[in-house]
């Protein structure tokens, strides 16, 4: 099919995955209203709503697959039809699907409103997909708010839990604060260049038609807003509290998919609108990357709560990804997409196991509680060990290859200090990841028979096994996905004019 962007009806086709997912979210909400109260599922049973939501994700995936074969004519000011968008759509859909699959027992166990939870999660995903797919700063802002507001509610979803409510409020207040920076940045950039459209901004800068004080200030405010969204140090303060307090499926979703969407938007704006200003923004990104790699890794060393440890770990992974943005060449960009996919899978998987271990009252979060888990639940513990090793970047796992690509990208841009820092902090991170594995396999259970009964129904186990298989597969045969990522970035690269790619300081 060919889309003609001179006709506004064809915009609907271009947004087909987002539309399908929005409609599915409403269907889930409606079905939830009519089934939930009358017929609450017995504790531990997977809710049928979960399957409905998964079907919605699947349909959106089909629509996204269909978009791969679509040709376009005419320029679109709103929606990008490039490989970068489609690849990141896969990323968000995978993150959402995995979160749904792995949250089956949690929601009914904690008696959360399943319909609302799933539909909010899907609407947040719609926001993410627009974030990755738009070329207009105003639409981008709307998408970010769509995602964020859904995420605030998802965080505060567990009304019976004080910590959840507190986390939701904190997230909301600080999120609003950062949205202000973003919006102000957009306004200033518009003031400086006369456009909110990314290619037009780039063209204006290229032509020397921009009023630079406004533009530079706007760009700085945008960087601040995005740094908050991707939880870059020192804008990360909200992250540990929110991640720890939120219901664990939300934490998994936020640490993986929300962060990935923020990165995708960050990369698109800075690579597509400000490539000519690389020299002025890359030092700031460089410092953000260095701080974000070092500090959370050090703090994670002294954490005894595994969920909080994973929160700091997720901040640290953001640092590794910022290295890719600082490097800004093709390898680094493809590595970033590769990393985001691996990271989404392993991080959601790891938090799913945390969900299982924590038990009904969510009390078992300390590292000591993992003692003896290995020998009473060998399958789950083996999978968790794979995720931990991958998070640490152990050879043979996808996490290792992802780090290798990032390092390669950094080296291609001669960012030696960042590359060495990345390698060193990776070694430090082994300590806190392997400590959990050590407790699982080498230490006795805190209480006799602590892990003999765990709540992990079949869909969840299958999801975990599949995720672990993906991690191992990508660790051994990474080149297929990496080539895909390269092609995706290639499309994106052409959109920015190909000037930037390969450029290094």
């Amino acid at each position: 099919m060919e889309l003609d962007f001179t006709s506004s009806a064809d915009y609907l086709w271009a947004f087909l995955p987002e539309i399908v997912l929005s409609v599915s979210a409403m269907v889930v909400l409606l079905v939830g209203v009519f089934t939930e109260d009358r017929d609450p599922p017995a504790a531990g049973d997977p809710s049928p709503l979960g399957w409905v939501a998964l079907v919605g994700i699947l349909l959106a995936g089909l629509a996204n697959g269909w978009l791969h074969g679509v040709e376009t004519t005419g320029a679109s000011s709103m929606v990008a039809m490039d490989g970068f968008r489609l690849f990141s759509n896969w990323l968000f859909l995978a993150g959402a699907g995995l979160t749904i699959l792995l949250s089956f027992p949690y929601l009914s166990r904690q008696r959360l409103q399943i319909g609302e939870f799933y539909s909010l999660l899907m609407l947040a995903t719609v926001g993410m997909m627009v974030m990755g797919g738009t070329r207009n700063l105003l639409l981008l802002f709307l998408a970010i708010e769509t995602m964020s507001i859904a995420a605030y509610v998802l965080t505060a979803m567990n009304r019976r839990d004080r910590k959840s409510a507190e986390a939701g409020l904190k997230y909301f207040l600080l999120g609003a604060f950062s949205s202000a920076f973003l919006l102000y940045g957009i306004a200033l950039v518009w003031g400086g260049t006369g456009s909110a459209n990314l290619p037009e901004i780039a063209a204006a800068i290229q032509a020397g038609a921009a009023f630079s004080p406004l533009l530079i200030a706007g760009m700085a405010l945008l960087a601040i807003g995005f740094a908050f969204k991707v939880a870059a140090v020192p804008f990360h303060m909200w992250t540990p509290d929110v991640y720890e307090g939120a219901p664990t499926p939300t934490t998994a979703f936020m640490a993986a998919a929300v962060k990935a969407a923020s990165f995708v938007a960050f990369v698109r704006v800075f690579m597509e609108a400000f490539p000519a200003l690389y020299e002025s923004w890359y030092p700031v990104i460089w410092w953000l990357a260095a701080l974000t790699m070092v500090i959370p890794n050090l703090i994670a060393l002294s954490q005894s709560n595994v969920k909080r440890m994973l929160a700091y770990s997720s901040v640290a992974h953001g640092g590794y990804l910022l290295v890719a943005l600082a490097a800004a060449n093709e390898t680094a960009m493809a590595g970033l997409l590769f990393y985001l996919l691996v990271y989404t899978v392993m991080n959601i998987g790891a938090l799913a196991v945390v969900m299982i271990v924590s038990g009904h009252s969510e009390e078992r979060m300390q590292v000591e509680d993992y003692g003896g888990f290995g020998w009473s639940q060998p399958l789950l513990a083996t999978i968790f060990t794979i995720f931990l090793l991958s998070l640490a970047g152990f050879p043979g796992t996808g996490g290792f290859m992802a780090k290798i690509y990032l390092l390669q990208g950094a080296v291609e841009s001669s960012l030696w200090t960042l590359a060495i820092t990345l390698a060193v902090v990776t070694v430090i991170s082994y300590y806190y990841y392997l400590r959990v594995a050590w407790y699982m396999w080498m230490r006795p259970a805190p209480v006799e028979g602590a892990h003999t009964r765990v709540w992990a129904p079949l869909p969840m186990r299958m999801g975990l096994v599949g995720s672990a298989a993906v991690i191992i597969y990508l660790g051994i045969f990474p080149s297929g996905l990496m080539e895909g990522a390269r092609v995706a970035v290639g499309g994106f690269g052409r959109a920015v004019g190909g000037v930037l790619l390969g450029l290094g300081p």
Binding site: L174, I216, A220, I224, P234, F235, M237, L298, L301, P378
Partner: protein, 714 residues
């Protein structure tokens, strides 16, 4: 095997040329690996269940009565089944190879294993006469021992684990002999070492047995160092590690008797000495008897310990080019043969006697390959696999029976001490007869298998006396060791099976013959021990009246069979040394000395039997240890373990204690801990800002935003 020999004779003489197309050679290796995977999975399941039982203090199930769980019934079929499959495939290929005159080995390369720069190593296997005959022995004898194990181990809770290890061992052993280059061989070499360690320490709850496993593993590391050094030197010299390329280039590249080839072969010899338990590294093998007895039969008699002999035969051209190393091989072999035989004279543990006997027989094989009689060495390796496996399995049947008998009244006697046995032939007639066949074979009595192989080695050592006086001495040592062999083996048989029974009246009622699945392997191995030597009857012996083998259609079959493998080594020796003298150092031909040897052995057997039958033997607890004279020295194995302990182990422990206290604890740990504490301290400082207060966060956020803005603007 015998009949296959007959087929071959005709076809080789007919000179059938043409290609040898092996049938699924990779599957021969894969089948045991598959068995390992399946049995290993079952072992995990069963291990988890028995851990549950221990936790909930439910007693072990008694598998002898009632239903047997799947984890115990499946390995019975999988374990020996995969070996049977591998053996059938090997046999098919062997028969195919018989009809072909193969001068170059067939190489199957599966994937490029180490494609790095100048070094390129393929995961490849090589099928030729030497590797095929080794694979026949490994899978054939291996299969019989697997079958025997079903009966021997079925009451053990670790039954599936046992078969998993045993299958894995066979896989690695096949990799060792089939590898087409040194690195692949090394994988097998290390793999069998690992399996040996796992199986020696199979009953790891027993501290002593676990320690025996460790001892074997550590002593072998010394040998592995030699093998690795040899590989480095080979790569430095030839730029490749493939057998074919190295052995083809060796005669032209290396100087005869030169420093490089001598160094390479001496390092190879160090590796072989470790694996094949020769002086000075033999000490691990007697301790290795701590493992289950079928393991001793398979690993520590028939297959793994012969890897050193295989290595020398495989690298025969290198040893032919290094006369000093070859002489070292023969000398070490001769000394080990005699030394181990003297220790065996005074041992009371039936498995210890067999262990030292194995060390001694391996010494004979080393002598053979050391004087250039590679086929004779491999020939003795093969016949030894038959009769020593039989002896070990028979000893296993005896121990099994003794254990039951002693267990029935909870008598705390040693089930392996021969002084506690006596007169077992009445209870175990099949074991008795078959073990006598093996004893006559190992004693070297015509026409049993061992006669031909041992006689051939001694003959070649003697004829090598033409080159150097050293070999005349070695020849004398070999004859002495052969006489001692006849003595200690007869002593073992008499103490175990003859004379009055010493187990005690209530116990003896529980002595019994082994079940069919244990006696059938004994019977097959007995047949091989009797006739197995006929495949390589020397021409002169065959034609003589004494030989009485005029009816055999061929002579020297194995020599001719292995000729393509050893021809380049033979050519080097022939051009450098000239032909062997076909006469013993003190005169007399092959037939004369064959007759002398067999008569001597027979006389020793008869005299020893009469002596021990007339001698009253006390059960172990009444007898005590020999306390004076040479008997005490021999009983204590020449105090070699004590010597090693004093000059190697204790100083080493002292040094490592010091390293641990000073270097490790103070320097390394101190540094690492300091790094850790500093990191944690910084982390703790960082987390101080994490107050949980939103206003703090907002404040820091605003400050940071100002910093970023500043960075952009200035």
């Amino acid at each position: 095997m015998i009949s296959l020999g007959f087929i071959s004779a005709g076809s080789i003489q007919a000179g059938g040329a043409g290609g040898f197309d092996p049938l699924l050679p990779g599957l021969i290796l894969l089948l045991p690996l598959l068995g390992f995977a399946l049995n290993g999975a079952l072992a995990l399941v069963s291990g988890r269940r028995s851990a549950d039982r221990v936790r909930n203090s439910i007693p072990e199930e008694d598998h002898t009565a009632g239903s047997v769980p799947l984890t115990h019934s499946l390995p019975t079929w999988i374990g020996p089944g995969v070996l049977l499959g591998a053996f059938v495939l090997t046999a098919i290929n062997f028969v195919r190879l018989l009809g072909v005159e193969l001068t170059e080995p067939v190489i199957r390369s599966y994937w490029s294993w180490m494609p790095t720069g100048t070094l390129s190593v393929d995961a490849a296997i090589q099928l030729d006469q030497l590797s095929m005959i080794m694979m026949m022995v490994i899978t054939g004898v291996g299969f019989l021992i697997h079958v025997f194990s079903v009966g021997y181990m079925k009451e053990d809770p670790g039954y599936p684990r046992y078969f998993a290890y045993l299958n894995l061992f066979v896989f690695f052993m096949l990799v060792l002999v089939a590898g087409a280059n040194f690195p692949v061989m090394f994988v097998g070499w290390e793999g069998v070492g690992l399996c040996s360690y796992l199986l020696i320490g199979f009953w790891f709850q027993d501290r002593e047995k676990a320690d025996a496993g460790k001892k074997a593993f550590i002593v072998n590391r010394v040998g592995d160092f030699g093998l690795l050094m040899a590989m480095f030197l080979l790569f430095a010299t030839f730029g490749t590690l493939d057998y074919g390329a190295i052995f083809a280039a060796a005669p032209d590249t290396l100087l005869y008797g030169g420093g490089i080839v001598t160094a390479i072969t001496l390092f190879l010899l160090l590796g072989a000495v470790g694996k094949s338990a020769q002086i000075p590294l033999y000490v691990w093998l007697p301790d290795a008897m701590a493992g289950p007895t079928p393991v001793s039969a398979l690993i520590h008699a028939a297959t793994m310990v012969t890897a050193g002999v295989y290595l020398v035969a495989r690298a025969s051209v290198l040893f032919a080019l290094a006369p000093v190393s070859a002489a070292a091989v023969a000398t070490i072999g001769a000394l080990t043969a005699l030394f181990a035989a003297t220790i065996a004279l005074k041992q009371y543990d039936i498995k210890k006697v067999l262990a030292y006997s194995t060390v001694s027989q391996l010494g004979f094989m080393f002598m053979g390959v050391g004087v250039g009689a590679y086929a004779a060495g491999v020939f003795h390796l093969m016949t030894h696999a038959f009769f020593k496996a039989l002896l070990f399995l028979g000893a296993g049947a005896v121990i099994h029976s003794m254990h039951h008998a002693l267990h029935s009244t909870h008598k705390d006697w040693d089930a392996q001490d021969m002084r506690n046995m006596g007169g077992l032939r009445r209870f175990m007639p099949i074991t008795w007869i078959t073990m006598w066949a093996a004893t006559l074979a190992i004693a070297g009595i015509w026409p049993f298998a061992g006669f031909f192989s041992k006689d051939e080695i001694i003959w070649y050592v003697g004829t090598a006396g033409a080159f150097s006086g050293l070999y005349v001495v070695l020849w004398g040592i070999a004859l002495a060791a052969a006489v001692l062999t006849a003595f200690y083996m007869t002593r073992m048989m008499i103490m175990t099976f003859h004379g009055p029974n010493r187990t005690g009246e209530p116990e003896s009622r529980h002595l019994h013959e082994a079940p069919l699945n244990m006696t059938i392997p004994l019977g097959i191995l007995a047949v091989l021990s009797v006739f197995g030597g006929w495949i390589n009857v020397p021409g002169s012996v065959r034609e003589s009246f004494f030989g009485g083998f005029g009816v055999l259609p061929m002579s020297d079959w194995l020599d001719r069979w292995l000729a393509p493998v050893t021809q380049s080594a033979d050519a080097v020796r022939a051009s450098q040394l000239g032909a062997y003298a076909d006469v013993a150092p003190v005169g007399g031909g092959h037939v004369v000395w064959g007759a002398i040897a067999t008569v001597m052995a027979l006389v020793v057997v008869i005299v020893t039997a009469r002596y021990f039958l007339s001698q009253p033997i006390q059960p172990a607890h009444e007898d005590g240890e020999p306390d004076r004279g040479i008997g005490k020295v021999l009983y204590n194995k020449w105090y070699v373990d004590e010597l090693y302990d004093a000059i190697i182990v204790r100083p080493l422990i002292g040094v490592s204690r010091w390293c641990w206290r000073v270097i490790d604890r103070v320097l390394i740990d101190g540094t690492v801990n300091a790094v850790g504490s500093v990191s944690k301290g910084v982390g703790w400082f960082g987390s101080l800002f994490q107050t949980g207060q939103v206003n703090t966060y907002a404040f820091i956020l605003a400050l940071s935003a100002l910093a970023v803005l500043g960075a952009f603007i200035f």
